[in-house]
């Protein structure tokens, strides 16, 4: 009996393993389909004519480019993409710069009020945007930045979230290494750029990706500041929706075109994007 069992035991285990792996794969495939379906629906809806935009067919009965033609004529998608890229890239770079400087200063030197400043940063993160919107607006209008990308970018040059996110990375950097650098007559900037930054590169890149996606999706502040001219993509997409009616076909076509740059970017750096979402625990 035992002799009979021995050869079958690993086989049964292997079989169980196969089923276990198969089950996992099946679950993953289902989750993938679940995630991909909205994108698939956006793409096929963009090719559907007005008559079938509300039906449930998985493919258009006839492929039509009229939504794309309409969307391209109705809004300046290329110009808006360029504006959004400028806005998102500038905000990301500036927020990273200010966050690196602030986190470095707060962790490197013990100065009077450093804890207070850190607490203030934490507090500003908790203040809802709606509470500071109007004072921000009056200040930006006073600076003459109304209706310009500068007006969108300037109040977003520093981010409390970015500072607080980088602070632990700086804090946990070994003090002994910094002291060694100082003994080697490295300047404060030298320590930052030659010693610390190369070692926490991955944290900065992943934070940058998050900041970029946040800026890219920003709607409310640009909607307040920009009334004419340098409109961003998110405002452009909104123009297909009104209280009365949403033009789903053109909206989907514009969404496909608008998501292309970010999709391409995602395909290039998808590993880092996933890492950054896991690292900062944000969905």
């Amino acid at each position: 009996m035992e002799l009979q069992m021995e050869p079958t035991a690993p086989a049964a285990k292997q079989k169980r393993l196969r089923w276990g792996t198969g089950g996992k794969h099946l679950l993953l495939i289902l989750l993938c389909l679940f995630a991909i379906f909205p994108i698939y629906w956006m793409v096929i809806s963009s090719f559907k004519g007005a008559g079938e935009i509300f039906n449930n067919s998985l493919l258009p009965s006839s492929w039509s480019l009229e939504n794309y033609t309409y969307a391209m004529e109705a809004i300046d998608i290329v110009g808006m993409t360029a504006n959004t890229l400028v806005m998102a890239l500038s905000q990301t770079i500036l927020q990273l710069c200010t966050a690196v400087m602030a986190a470095y200063a707060l962790t490197r030197w013990d100065f009077a009020g450093s804890k207070l400043i850190y607490a203030l940063f934490s507090l500003t993160w908790l203040v809802p945007f709606q509470a500071i919107m109007i004072p921000n607006y009056t200040t930006i209008v006073g600076m003459g930045f109304r209706d310009s990308l500068m007006g969108v970018i300037v109040p977003n040059m520093a981010s409390a979230f970015a500072i607080l996110s980088l602070y632990p990375s700086f804090k946990s950097f070994p003090k002994a290494l910094i002291e060694a650098g100082v003994m080697d007559k490295m300047s404060a900037c030298g320590v930052l750029f030659k010693l610390i930054l190369p070692n926490i590169k991955s944290s900065i890149v992943s934070l940058g990706i998050l900041l970029f996606i946040n800026s890219w999706n920003d709607y409310f502040w640009p909607a307040l500041i920009i009334s004419q001219g340098q409109t961003t993509l998110q405002l452009g997409l909104r123009s297909f929706m009104s209280a009365e009616l949403t033009s789903w076909g053109p909206l989907m076509a514009a969404s496909v075109l608008a998501s292309l740059p970010i999709l391409i970017l995602y395909l290039i750096i998808q590993k880092q994007v996933i890492q950054s979402f896991v690292k900062w625990g944000i969905k």
């Binding site: 509300f54 009077a112 033009s247």
Partner: protein, 439 residues
């Protein structure tokens, strides 16, 4: 300590800088629009239609046509989406950059008069010139933008009333006469049940989401009720006529004649040809017509159904224009522009290209304006007939007006999609809303 002092000093400087910027903003506002004599007066027009892809060309056409005609005024359109409108007006008002002409919801006349220094049209234009301009304007629409002092602060601009749209093909399939749409809510119930029995959906009154209280009000007025007393001090939507109207609506849902959809789902089902009837703003009409054409089915339209032999009383959704400019010359320039957009020529563009009602009804029989368009769009006549029985879309007073409208919306939704006691729910909502009214 020294460093702390430096920080405090920096904070003080920032605060004073903020003060300076307000002054700068005011300077900027006052200098804007001032032009040398002989040049055109520049004014701004804040409008949400400019942010809607399907309407922006028509608004721009209105602005461009006016600019080409006027020797004295130059208008620049400024866009905002409808959800950000109030925030934008408020922010710019605080920043001292008030827009000269602003498109506002017709239910928010009191809010704008009470919170911004609006001037009445009668004062800006002079009573005689104002009266002269309003000749030929739909009579019932003339008072929609008046405040309690009897003066007009908001002039109706884009405007529509609720209509009953139906799918003639689905009517035939259900054995109903497509040329005899229901006229009363009792008939609506019979038709709705027949449609449901034929395997499709019956009716949907699209007033189950936020911001649809205008249509709920139409239901209540049609049954002889009111939502607010004339002195604006008592909420009345929990009183018997209102309760009875909502009970009829609840019965439509419980009997299966009314679909169990959200408004958006019902709109989409109707446009896909799967919903028999829809009570909705006539502003949707162009979208419904194109969906019917694309889907190969025939669209029918009728007026708002009535409760028995009481006459149906529609309300209006839509917007009006107000003048926010404090500068007398700019206010006059704004009036010149508003006269144009609410003229026969203005309404020809508004109706034919944006889909709103012509508030100068005579132009649909005038060859120079909309006669040929009206022949191709016969529903406009049904819609205009309703104007004669129009009741003002009442905005609730005070800073909690939005909350009161939401309370009404939620109470009605709670009633119609359940078998709860309508009187109890509406009375409770009435009492809560009463507490939100200003003392």
């Amino acid at each position: 300590m020294k460093k702390l002092l430096t920080l405090l000093l920096a904070a003080a400087m920032t605060a004073s800088f903020a003060g300076c910027t307000t002054t700068n903003a005011n300077d900027q506002a006052s200098s804007k629009g001032e032009t040398a004599s002989g040049e055109k007066k520049e004014i701004t027009f804040l409008t949400y239609n400019l942010s809607i892809a399907s309407q922006k060309d028509a608004v721009q056409e209105l602005i461009d046509t006016f600019n080409a005609q006027s020797d004295t005024v130059q208008v620049t359109g400024v866009q905002t989406d409808v959800a950000s409108l109030q925030t934008k007006v408020q922010s710019d008002y605080v920043a001292g950059n008030t827009f000269d002409v602003v498109q506002v919801g017709l239910n928010s006349v009191d809010y704008y008069v009470e919170n911004y220094a609006l001037s009445a049209f009668e004062d800006i234009a002079g009573q005689e010139a104002y009266d002269q301009h309003m000749e030929g304007f739909a009579e019932k629409a003339q008072t929609l933008g008046t405040y309690t002092d009897g003066k007009t602060y908001v002039l109706p601009y884009t405007f529509s009333t609720p209509m009953l749209y139906y799918n003639k093909d689905l009517f035939e399939k259900a054995g109903l006469d497509p040329e005899q749409p229901p006229k009363t809510w009792e008939e609506v119930k019979t038709y709705g049940v027949a449609l449901k029995d034929s395997g499709t959906e019956g009716i949907q009154i699209t007033a189950t989401g936020d911001g649809t209280d205008w249509l709920i009000q139409a239901m209540i007025y049609s049954n002889g009720g009111e939502v607010l007393s004339e002195d604006k001090k008592t909420i009345l939507f929990g009183e018997q006529p209102a309760v009875d109207a909502i009970s009829v609506w609840q019965d439509l849902v419980l009997s299966g004649a009314h679909s169990n959809y959200t408004d958006t789902e019902a709109m989409e089902a109707f446009m896909a040809g799967n919903q028999g009837m829809l009570v909705v703003s006539a502003a949707m009409e162009s979208g419904l017509i194109s969906s019917a054409e694309a889907g190969g089915w025939e669209l029918g339209a009728a007026g708002l159904p009535s409760f028995g032999d009481k006459e149906a009383v529609p309300t209006n959704s839509g917007s009006g224009l107000c003048i926010m400019s404090q500068d007398e010359e700019k206010a006059k320039a704004a009036w010149e522009f508003i006269q144009f957009v609410t003229s026969e020529e203005g309404y020809t563009i508004i109706t034919s290209k944006m889909g709103y009602l012509p508030l100068r009804p005579a132009i649909i029989d005038d060859e120079k304006y909309l006669k040929s368009w009206a022949e191709e769009h016969p529903f406009v006549r049904t819609n205009l007939e309703q104007l004669e029985r129009l009741h003002k879309w009442v905005g609730f007073p005070g800073l909690n007006s939005g909350q009161i409208a939401t309370a009404l919306n939620q109470a009605v939704t709670e009633c119609i999609f359940s078998d709860k006691d309508v009187e109890a729910v509406m009375k409770q909502a009435q009492s809560e809303a009463q507490d939100l009214l200003p003392n």
